[in-house]
């Protein structure tokens, strides 16, 4: 897991990294990713290439060392970044703006295609936009002002705004269905919003009983719409079944500081990745729910995890269970650190196919092209 991963120092603190999507039919590995910076006087978004298709530089020391393709100035910190499609990137800015950049492939340049300047705002101050989720051509953004805004790319105005959706900061948002989104906020609540309903009330609110720990990230299971993973200030990873009331499905101690991002692997959702302020990036692997132990299933798991099939009770072990639906408590969970120790905060990660990219406050990007999934 450590082989094939090297740091590339890029002279800017990286707040977000995202792979450009590859078409689902092709079996290609991703070769282009975008990054956003933060805490600079002049922030930028940049496009990088690691493949043969990309532009290789002169001092290509390591195989697949990312090469800069193009970049563009960004006003404010890049607090979120998503690819809308192959050509367009949406960013959330600390100024409260939502910006769409277009990547021109022939000239290899970036330009601003659309700008909603103070989409998120306070009456007097700026309110940072903190999260974006896209389902082309729709874009949903959330911010410190507690608003949820629905845009349509190519339409100038705002499609819909849910004012005062939250009295605290909304940190992240994800689609549950095409008409339903889920947000997480800084008082530890998950809220589900149904766009088919008018009004400014969520259709459901879930939260952990106990301390109201701020939640920073959320991701939905790629195949099962009712399963989401969240991470927050205390570094705990929670898996929720939103149909089932107020208790998370499982709680796992993951990191010793804020968890900034959590991602299910898009094509292999037995794998989950999380990164944190404590400088670690974890790869979680669960085996599928089955009465047959995995080593008898043949071909699935090459490594045999020597854990007892029943989750250990008590002590300081957290609840361990498979996060797929089902009633089995015979799940197994393997966790691997993917980075050498002693990095500053890992702010962002993205995983697609066998490739993983992440960015840190140590002004470094790490790319791993052989993620064992």
């Amino acid at each position: 897991m450590m082989e094939g991963i090297n740091a590339k120092y890029v002279s800017q603190k990286i707040s977000k990294t995202r792979w450009r999507p590859v078409s689902s039919s092709s079996l290609q590995q991703p070769d282009i990713f975008a990054t956003g910076s933060w805490d600079n006087e002049d922030n930028k978004i940049s496009i990088w290439s690691i493949g043969e298709n990309g532009i290789s530089g002169l001092d290509n020391e390591f195989e697949g060392d990312p090469q800069l393709v193009c970049e563009h100035k960004h006003n404010g910190d890049v607090l979120d970044l998503q690819f809308l499609d192959q050509d367009r990137i949406v960013t959330a800015s600390s100024t409260g703006a939502v910006i769409i950049f277009r990547h021109h492939h022939n000239s290899q340049t970036l330009s601003v295609s659309q700008l909603w300047e103070r989409a998120h705002h306070y009456p007097c101050d700026n309110a940072p936009c903190t999260g974006i989720v896209c389902n082309s051509p729709e874009i949903v953004t959330v911010g410190e002002d507690g608003r949820i805004i629905l845009f349509r790319a190519d339409q100038e105005g705002v499609l819909r705004t849910i004012e005062n959706a939250d009295s605290s900061t909304i940190h992240d948002v994800t689609f549950l269905r095409t008409t339903e989104i889920l947000t997480v906020n800084s008082i530890g609540q998950l809220k589900i919003w149904d766009f088919r309903q008018q009004g400014n009330e969520p259709s459901q609110i879930l939260s952990l009983t106990g301390d109201r720990v701020p939640l920073h990230c959320v991701d939905r299971h790629p195949n099962q719409q009712h399963i989401v993973a969240t991470g927050g200030q205390d570094g705990m990873l929670c898996i929720w079944d939103v149909r089932q009331g107020n208790m998370p499905f499982s709680l796992m101690e993951a990191h010793s500081a804020e968890m900034w991002e959590v991602h299910f692997h898009p094509s292999n959702p037995d794998h989950l990745f999380s990164c944190s302020e404590d400088g670690s990036l974890l790869h979680w692997e669960t085996s599928s729910n089955s009465d047959t132990p995995s080593f008898l299933q043949g071909g699935r798991n090459t490594s045999i995890v020597s854990r007892s099939a029943i989750a250990p009770a008590g002590g300081n072990q957290s609840l361990i269970s498979s996060w797929l639906t089902g009633d089995s408590s015979k799940g197994r969970l393997e966790t691997t650190h993917m980075l050498p120790s002693q990095t500053l905060s890992v702010n962002s990660l993205d995983v697609l196919g066998q490739c993983l990219v992440c960015g840190t406050d140590g002004e470094a990007i790490y790319v791993n092209r052989r993620v064992p999934i």
Partner: protein, 608 residues
Amino acid sequence: MEEVDVEPTTTPIPGFDSNQKHLGFVWGPGDILVYETIYKASGGSAGGCPFVHEVRKDEDIYSPILRKLFNESHHIFVGLQRIREDLPMYHVSSLELIWNLCEVLFIDAAPAGSLVLHLLDWVRLHKADVDEKAREVLASESPAEHQAYWDVVISYVLQGRMDEARQVLVKQAALQPAARVMFKLLDNLLMKMPIFNPGETQTLTEFDVKWRHWREEVDHCLQDQSFASNRHLEDICKILVGDEDVLLEYKELLSTWYHFLVTRLLFSHPTVKPTELHYYAQVLTTTLYMIQKPLDSILLAAFEFDIHQVIKDCSIALNNWWFVGHLTDLLDHCKLLQSHNLHFGSNLREFLLLEYASGLFTHHSLWQLAVDYFDHCPEFGRVYLELQIERVPLDTERKALKVIRICEQRQMTEQVRSICKIMAKKALRNNRLGSALSWSIRAKDAAFATLISERFLQDYCAKGTFSDLDLIDNLGPAMLLSDRLTFLGKYREFHRLYGEKRFSDAAKLLLSLMTAKIAPHSFWMTLLTDALPLLEQKEVIFSADQTHELMFCLEELTSGKSVPTPDRPMQVLGYTPPYPLSNVCFPFNLLIHCFIICSNLYSCLARG
């Protein structure tokens, strides 16, 4: 005051003429603010200038290339504090030169015999042009006739690279078959030159004997005039015996005094001891070469094994503390620095690291690196960090969270509270009550939580409904952070119970809010008023005991002792509400309500 070692540099301020006016200034953390005063240089005063100039002292930290260096070295620095690692090569040539020399002399500490070889390696590393020239010569049509041919051969000899010299000489030998014997002779001498091999069992004395023997042989050839017919070959021979005059002739090829020094040592004193180095260096620099550049004096100090002088000279010559800080730290780890105590009590390593880290802290982005450096300065690091961390501008919640995490990890509770309070106030100003509460919970700031609850209650009194129900309904254990917050949560619960028509539960709760002293006195009137609809219900909700308690509360309220004033709870906190509380609390209404309540209470008692 100490003498100045070098002339300080002058930075002209645009638009300012020092002959006309006096300049005023004030120090900042990493810069100086400068302004033109009204005082004329010639005496008297005149109109002032509205501009204030900011003069930054360190341009280096804004260079993108150096940023990579800072991040990489930070990574290594942190690792070094735990274990010693191999140093990377840095791509800035003078720094590299100094660093490598320090490695050879201080860290590897090569003994006599190996010392010269290591120094040769050091020289070769930094004189790459010889190989380039050689390639050019050998690639040409007739290498032996190339104008740089002999330069190449001699340069190789001067660097002790005998094999390469021989390979190039072969070309010349081929051209002059008549002189074949002479070339063969020189080739032989070059081949047989003894090189000390530390791995072998040969002692230094044995090597010395061998070397002297070989040297005599070379000298013999010179006396014999064996190379008289070819000036170049004769020069090479003279170099081999360490003839200084010939070496001087090739001063240009040697180009620097330290190359000269090492070459001379190679051919005259290959068994030189580290302690003798400085003597040879000094002789050289006082007679043959002039020490001009700061680089030269740094290298000379290194040859003299004066570590402190090296550090001092580096500090003056370089305009950034990066190099010196890391070098000193490394030397300190090798236990090479005696604790050189400066007059304010911190040792040299710490002083330099503090300077470096403070410089980093002024950078809008590199401040995070500085934290680790402060951590490893045992005496003053923490104090420096405490002072600096509060100055980091907090534009977004995310940045504030990172700063707070740094403080929490180091038990800097004061700073945590202060930052959370700043963020909470900002949230409150923008009417983000949930965010404000979130910050108060993080800081465990009961006072601020009380403030937020007061805001909610004010809103309620003003509008008659609660805002941000999603927050109040879901407070959870955070409710216990402050009494006022608890009250808020419970009061909302009362409304919910009432709405669900669970009247007896609602009544019990309402009463407990007053009797358990959770409710602030200013709110009792509101609570008693809320009790009215319960009292007016057909079925009896309040028991006799409960009714008595209600009356007791009313009495307490109306007696002189605790007449509620609208602003009292606020004044306790030192906070003035922006708008007056609702007229429920006006004394006039107070009496009316008392009357209504009393009559209801008595009618209840009569019934029950």
